[in-house]
């Protein structure tokens, strides 16, 4: 079992510690209340990488939006380093399934967004080029988003997040819309970036293999209203291999928890 202890033994992290306590949330839809999250409890150690795995529409993305501070939970608490989250903050950055680059800005100006919003553009301009280099988009810095492929656009979105040196990176199915080859390449990229930057990472995905390849811990969510069915400790060093018998076994367990055990 690699757990909190093993995570703590890694190189020191400037990541954020996250605590979600007894969190419930619901949407108002045409007068009726639709529960999406039901009494979620979870804890992320600084620098840990955790995946939220579950069927689509189960409320995982809502959990990310709550952690990002874009919405306020109905009941329960979310603590970042012990402080309750009330509003969005550049230390916690959300990367969406769609790159959502601004079409009127070049790649470079899109990446500059966070620095510009906080008035740091003048003093820290060089960080833009560093971020572009990190995701391998230096040659495309003057391109407009419409000129990028899906994979490149998602890299640009990652650079736009990383330029702010987030302490918690929230990834909402960031590879969900990419073709399978690009996705495999981007998975290694995500691991590399996480290892370099030492942020805490919370990944929402419905790809079992992706969750097991990328994360220390995989939390399996049930159907809406979402609650955590099980926590799987992966306990393998990086780089991991898809055919590692331990991962294959974990994948089988995860699928069984999701009611798909017989389909693999």
């Amino acid at each position: 079992m690699v757990s909190a202890a093993a995570v703590a033994n890694r190189a020191p992290s400037n990541g954020l510690g996250l605590e979600v306590k007894n969190l419930s949330h619901a949407f108002e839809l045409g007068g009726t209340s639709l529960p999406v999250l039901n009494r979620i409890d979870l804890t992320l150690q600084p620098g840990e990488s955790v995946a939220l795995l579950g069927p689509s529409g189960c409320g995982k993305s809502t959990l990310l939006r709550l952690v990002a501070g874009l919405e306020t939970p109905l009941t329960g608490e979310i603590l970042a380093d012990g402080q309750p989250i009330r509003a969005p903050d550049p230390s916690r950055i959300l990367v969406f399934q769609d790159p959502t680059l601004y079409p009127w800005r070049t790649v470079r100006d899109n990446v500059a967004l966070g620095l510009q919003a906080r008035g740091l553009l003048g003093s820290q301009r060089e960080r833009i080029d560093e971020a572009l280099a990190k995701v391998g988009l230096t040659d495309f810095r003057d391109a407009y988003p419409r000129q990028l492929s899906g994979g490149m656009a998602q890299r640009a979105a990652l650079a736009r997040a990383l330029v702010n040196e987030p302490r918690l990176l929230l990834l909402d199915e960031p590879l969900g819309k990419l073709d399978s080859l690009t996705r495999i390449a981007m998975q290694s990229e995500l691991i590399r970036l996480w290892q370099q930057q030492r942020y805490t990472s919370l990944l929402v995905t419905h790809d079992v293999e992706e969750a097991l390849l990328l994360c220390d811990r995989v939390l399996v969510f049930g159907n809406r209203p979402a609650r955590i069915l099980a926590a799987l400790e992966v306990g393998r060093d990086y780089p991991r291999h898809r055919n590692d018998p331990h991962l294959v076994e974990l994948r089988q367990r995860a699928l069984e928890l999701l009611g798909l055990g017989s389909s693999w």
Binding site: R65, A68, G69, L70, P88, D89, P90, R92, I93, L94, F96, D98, T100, Y102, P103, W104, R105, L113, G114, Q116, A117, R118, Y144, R146, R160, N164
Partner: protein, 328 residues
Amino acid sequence: MPTSSAELSRQGTWRSFPFWGTGFVAALCWVAFALYSTEAPNATRDWPYTQELANLSLGFAALLAVIALLPGRFARKLRPAGKWLVVLPILLGLWQLATAKQALLPVPFFAPPQALLEVYAEDWARLAESLLHSLWLLLNGVLLGAVFGFVAGISIGWSQRIGYWVHPVLRILGPVPSTALLPICFFIFPSSWGASVFLIALATWFPVTVLTWSGVASVDRAYYDVARTLGASQRFLIFRVAIPAALPHVFVGLFMGLGASFSVLVVAEMMGVKAGLGWYLQWAQGWAAYANMYAALLVMALLCSGLITLLFLVRDRVLSWQQGAVKW
């Protein structure tokens, strides 16, 4: 990019033998028009400036012939217009035939092309003054209307509290044709010029407001989420997200507003303002100077088309990130 083998071979012949056939044919047509103008007998009377018109078209023909023989960058730019350069003298010839030569159209009401030339040569000072007056009036009105429309549209789109007050005004006042308010405005305003500026502004304001509003309202929510997680303030969300995202709509509004402003301008000048192209039209009609009317109409057409072209140039620059925008 050549799209077919036929096109490829045609480009090939251009390169090896750069003589521009269409340009040469066009030159011949302009010569023919000049000869027809001077040599064919007139139906009712001789028109002044016939010789000058012929000289102009002969000069143009010579220019075309030179360009057709000596191709350079300019000739290559002119080439796409080749067919129009052939058809234009033919149309002018038909005009000449229907008016001066055969008098097929009732005589005092339809002037031949040389009569327009006469107006430009003799009355250019008054025409130029009218043009400047119109431009100045239009500039004041359109700028005021566009600025207020832009601000109103952003406010309604952004703030429900402002929308509560502006929206009903927009719904009641906006669709009323500005020209219908002309009599009242001439009465209320101290000068007819001020009244016209107000009405042109009103005509521009309405479409700019509605389109800016719809532009702001249709901005993808995710754009705001992205900016908010990156630490953006309200100010940043308005000026760096909402406004750039709404700009394509704003330009459609400006286009519509400019079109509406033209008609208000002309009506205002015909009814109250004692200057401008609209006034010139009215004045020419009063004196039964029909050639002057056509001359002024032509200037007006060029003015309106020129302003729209200018707007599209600005748009193409500002929205260069957009793909497949309509070319004016």
